[in-house]
């Protein structure tokens, strides 16, 4: 059973029950009051008639006439005749003996104060009371028909049933409209939930109510937003992962294909000296490329498994070891490397930092044109040591900067491969920064240049705080 159906049924039942019970109680009270009034009226009329008879008898007595049954009968009849017109029947009893009666079928004298007679067909008020002394051996019975009261009550009952028949359908319709209106936000929420569950994560509840439903809708939207955010994040991560796997496959398969193909070519083809040289040259260069890739991958893997050994590293030493590795490349490319050191040393792993700088400088060499320079800066900023490599080369677009740290991402495929790059340099740099708990900044603007900066500890901060 639906919620609105339950609500409708329960409210309807409760309402009708309450209404009917109260109406019935009111009707019962009114019946009681009416009845009391009738009895009151009957008893006062009886008293009046009894008093009249008493006075009548007194005056007869004062005229010296004895009061016998005939006199009593006369008196009673004269009153009875008069009151019959008003629908009142009288009986006179003398010590239990009937003296006069309107009706022929009267048997025993009723009990002294019988207030109302209720049998199936006749409804009447009957009051029997003795006359004042000295006639207290005489009893006057007063009977009045109250059929009209019962008819009125029956009419009232019928009317009550009619009203029930008319009011209930109206109530049902009004309740239906009201409840459907009230549960509308629920249906809206339910539909939206269904849509979101169906994968439409951008869906929101459009509910502007200022009540609990509005609050629910707001919270619900907040939840949907969080879910959407996470789902987008997850799919972006899955995409990035897929890209990395694709790229790794590409990076491994391409040199392997060349090596295998050229080896086969050398082995089985009918070729001259020139082709032999080309083929073996490719096998050589592709082997180097694969070696480079494997070592970079190994570096990355070792980095994430080995703790770094931090010492105080002299900036000049660092510069010299970078220079030793790169001066051939720099000379070939016709690029100057300039050192600008404002601090003497930084706190870190010597080899890792050298590797970091070599990777950055190699990238810079590839990006720079002949005759330009690369600056290696070391300075203090907010009590951290900053190592910075700045070039004035081609730079990268914002989108390229965003992807730059992803493994195997290359800004320029063809050129980078010529240099034997594996596309892992910046991934390695990021890993090194993470191992040092250092922050890494990459700023770049196309045709202006690129700056990469790592914020390291100046000294061993742990020692200072201890």
């Amino acid at each position: 059973m639906r919620f609105w159906q339950k609500t409708l049924l329960v409210v309807l039942l409760l309402f009708i029950l309450t209404l009917d019970v109260s109406v019935m109680m009111i009707m019962k009270k009114s019946w009681q009051l009416n009845m009391e009034r009738e009895i009151q009226r009957a008893s006062s009329e009886q008293a009046l008639i009894a008093n009249n008879i008493y006075e009548n008898l007194n005056s007869i007595k004062s005229r010296g006439m004895s009061i016998n049954d005939t006199v009593l009968l006369d008196v009673a009849r004269s009153y009875a005749d008069y009151y019959r017109q008003q629908g009142i029947a009288l009986q006179l009893w003398d010590q239990g003996q009937l003296v006069y009666s309107d009706e022929s079928d009267t048997k025993d004298m009723p009990v002294i104060r019988n207030e109302q007679a209720d049998n199936e067909t006749v409804h009447e008020v009957i009051i029997t009371k003795e006359l004042p002394t000295p006639y207290n051996h005489l009893f006057l019975t007063y009977r009045r028909d109250i059929e009209e009261l019962y008819a009125k009550q029956a009419e009232l009952n019928r009317y009550f049933v009619y009203i029930n028949f008319i009011a209930s359908p109206i109530l049902i319709i009004l309740l239906y409209i009201l409840i459907r209106q009230l549960t509308k936000p629920l249906r809206l929420l339910s539909n939206t939930t269904k849509n979101i569950a169906g994968g439409n994560y951008g869906e929101r509840v459009t509910l502007k109510n200022n009540d609990e439903f509005g609050e629910l809708a707001q919270n619900y939207n907040r939840m949907a937003e969080a879910v959407e955010c996470h789902v987008t994040e997850l799919s972006a991560m899955a995409e990035a992962k897929q890209r990395i796997v694709d790229n790794l496959a590409h990076e491994l398969r391409t040199p392997l294909t060349s090596m295998q193909g050229f080896a086969q070519y050398l082995n089985s083809a009918n070729i001259g000296e020139e082709e032999r040289m080309t083929a073996s040259g490719y096998i050589w260069s592709e082997t180097l490329r694969l070696k480079n890739l494997v070592f970079k991958l190994l570096d990355l893997s070792i980095l994430s498994h080995q703790p770094v050994e931090r010492t105080s590293v002299s900036v000049v030493d660092l510069f010299e070891s970078v220079w030793r590795t790169e001066h051939n490349n720099l000379e070939m490319a016709g690029i100057k490397l300039v050192l600008q050191a404002e601090i003497d040393s930084v706190w870190g792993d010597r080899d890792l930092l050298a590797s970091f700088l070599i990777n950055c400088i190699e990238n810079s060499i590839h990006a720079s044109s002949e005759g330009s320079e690369i600056r290696f800066l070391a300075y203090e900023q907010n009590s951290t040591a900053v190592l910075e490599v700045r070039d004035f080369g081609r730079g990268m677009s914002a989108k390229q900067v965003e992807l730059a740290f992803e493994p195997f991402y290359r800004v320029d495929n063809a050129r980078s491969r010529v240099h034997g790059g594996a596309g892992l340099g910046l991934s390695l740099c990021r890993q090194i920064a993470e191992e040092h708990q250092a922050t890494l900044f990459l700023e770049s603007e196309e045709h202006i240049g690129t700056t990469i900066r790592i914020n390291l500890q100046l000294h061993n901060n742990n020692l200072l705080t201890r």
Binding site: A249, L252, G261, Y265, S268, A269
Partner: protein, 219 residues
């Protein structure tokens, strides 16, 4: 033989493919990206495109989409071997899909299949007075029709299509006899001997030590 356009941004792979195409007597064009590919397609008559999927700029799928109207058969060469990529490739109308690393013989075999399917005229091969007409399956030596068995002809066809490349006896069995054939590799020797005798190609079909046989030609 056929004009083949090789679109591949990796110079080693591009050279590997074209050097082998040259060996078996195909003409080739090299393109290292989509733009170069478009230029060549406009200027030259191309029978087949070997198309790398991961190219700088527009990728192979997109290039395929743009050149579908030319009705030039395409073989994708790629390192991406997910089912989704393969299906995308075939849905775009590729004739074949080769995954790196591939074997050169496999590549040549697939190229031949696609060419046979798409190019109506079959090429011939002429050397030392022997005229081999592959389409008609007829061989003339000094104007005289040479009688070859069906198996000998298959073997000759394989040797011609992979000329200048040494083929092992196993490979020859596989290519000329089919995968199911469970014969001795000496069967190959017998048939090669027959071919040499019938065509007078004692020197042309060379025995390569420890490898197999190679049909040699100058161009």
């Amino acid at each position: 033989m056929a004009n083949i356009l090789v679109v591949e941004d990796e110079k080693p792979i591009s050279d590997l493919i074209t050097m082998n195409l040259k060996l078996v007597g195909h003409q080739f064009f090299k393109a290292f990206n989509g733009m170069e590919m478009q230029v060549i397609l406009e200027q030259e008559k191309v029978d087949l495109i070997l198309l790398d999927v991961m190219l700088p700029g527009l990728d192979g799928f997109e290039l395929m989409r743009r050149n579908r109207h030319l009705n030039v058969p395409v073989i994708f060469i790629t390192a991406k071997d997910s089912l989704y990529d393969r299906i995308t490739g075939f849905e775009l109308g590729a004739d074949d899909y080769i995954i790196k690393p591939f074997e050169i013989l496999e590549l040549l075999a697939r190229i031949n299949v696609v060419l046979r399917r798409n190019v109506q005229e079959h090429d011939g091969f002429i050397a030392e007075g022997v005229d081999v007409r592959l389409a008609a399956r007829k061989i003339y030596k000094d104007g005289q029709l040479v009688d070859l068995t069906a198996r000998e002809f298959e073997l000759l066809e394989v040797l011609i299509q992979n000329r200048n490349i040494a083929l092992s006896r196993d490979k020859l069995l596989e290519l000329a006899w089919g995968y199911e054939f469970e014969g001795d590799t000496r069967t190959v020797d017998v048939h090669i001997r027959q071919l040499r005798k019938k065509l007078g190609w004692e020197e042309r079909i060379k025995t390569i030590c420890k490898l197999g046989y190679r049909l040699e030609s100058e161009g």
